[in-house]
Amino acid sequence: MITPVTKTGVAFYFLAALLAVTLAWFIYSAMSQIIQGHQLSGLSTHAGAAWGLLPANIVFLIGVSHVGIGVSAATRLLSLSYLKPYTRIAEMLTIVCLPAAVVAIAMDVGRPEVFIFNVMRWGRINSPFVWSATVISVYFSGSMVYLYLSLRRDIANMAHLVPKRAGLYRFLSLGYKDTEDENQRHERVLWWLALIIVPIMVSVHSVYGLIFGLQGSRPGWYNPFQAPYFVLGAIVSGFATLILVAALLRWLFRWQEFLKPVAIRNLGRFLSWMTLFYIYFLIAEILTMSYNAPAAEKTISYVLLRGNFAPIFWPAMVLLVSGYFMLFFNQTVFRHRFSIGITTLGALLINISLYITRYLIVVPSGLNPLLPYPKGSYSPTLVEWSIVLGTFAFAIAVYIAFLKLFPIVELHHSEK
């Protein structure tokens, strides 16, 4: 289980070099945008979309961060022992995706330092930015405490398993003694932490739903169900990402013995149900917008279904439905020939579709305002793509740094 910690292959150096180049290009693009403004990202408040690819990216990253503590908390609260090897894989998704989302938020507002200082200095309770800053700060700090406390035992044991870093691990374990009493105390506290973090987790993506849902001036956004709709989307993209990452780690390090198929099968089953609910919400939304809605809503419905966003919308729906049926048939009709590959492919298709759907939530409404501004156009520029790729590179870099330092699967579980 500590192969990633003790061994470093050529693939790691190649990936590290690729991430370094991507991050360097991201820093250059970010500095260019800060100095020259949003003209470089193609975003405009006069004619065109004020929000584009970056806000879609923010919503996606916040959504993926949902799953981490969600899976870990569910495993602990519902005693789902078969999911235990996957909990730290999921927790790290939260830890890497939240800061990546914050980086994306900072770049989206154009002047990060002004944004942070203004929100902290002059924020009002009725501002969605304040809600966003609150829930992200509380969720991230809670997740860090949760991860550290669940990792503490393994850090202490790593001092024996990796002697050349024993000093570091002993320092990080902060006096942890691997005794039955200590373990039980940690388990009790972690149980209560899991219980407290779950509603905070739900609130994080609810806030992002409300950021859109409370904007009465934007057709397609003003909707009382945006909060649960976004939470559902977060669960779908979060679980899909967890399946992808777990399958990748399982294949890369040959952990078939530790990451058993039954967990991926059950994760796939849960994902298929959540995807079905998401498709239901989607159909309800499209029907409401198309049937007898106000003119502005019908315009959004037209551009999505038959207008200039149709070439993006329909392939996204095909991906979503295909991914769902892959999972559905893999779990039911062909359950005796269950395939992790098909579950992973289904999760990938669903994740791509959800990313595109976030883009389609943000941009069409931005291009068709209620107020009589001239209608412009928008397409993501190279700078915006660079920043988006930079946020993913940042998340992946932190994840593999963790893999090199700490065990991604609980050591005491893998010994059983």
């Binding site: 902290m120 200095r121 309770i125 609150t134 509380v138 105390r185 506290v189």
Partner: protein, 78 residues
């Protein structure tokens, strides 16, 4: 006391642990409420802290997470 029996003295940290946790709760709640009032009220008297009230509010909420660390880190030595 029987001859030869030595009673171990409790570490000072363990004795003050309940007071530490209670203080943490009080300070965190104070910061949270002060920050919230500062964000709601613009009056410099009613809004206890006017500027930086969002930071104070977030610090108050985040500092609650120190409590599980205090519960687990402060323990009697065996």
């Amino acid at each position: 006391m029987e001859q030869g029996v030595v009673v171990a003295k409790e570490r000072p940290a363990v004795r003050v642990k309940p007071y530490l946790i209670f203080s943490n709760v009080v300070i965190s709640a104070t910061l949270t409420i002060a920050g919230l009032l500062g964000m709601i009220f613009t009056n410099r008297v009613a809004g206890v802290i006017y500027e930086w009230s969002t930071l104070v509010w977030i610090l108050g909420l985040v500092s609650f997470w120190l409590i599980p660390l205090e519960i687990l880190f402060i323990k009697p030595s065996r």
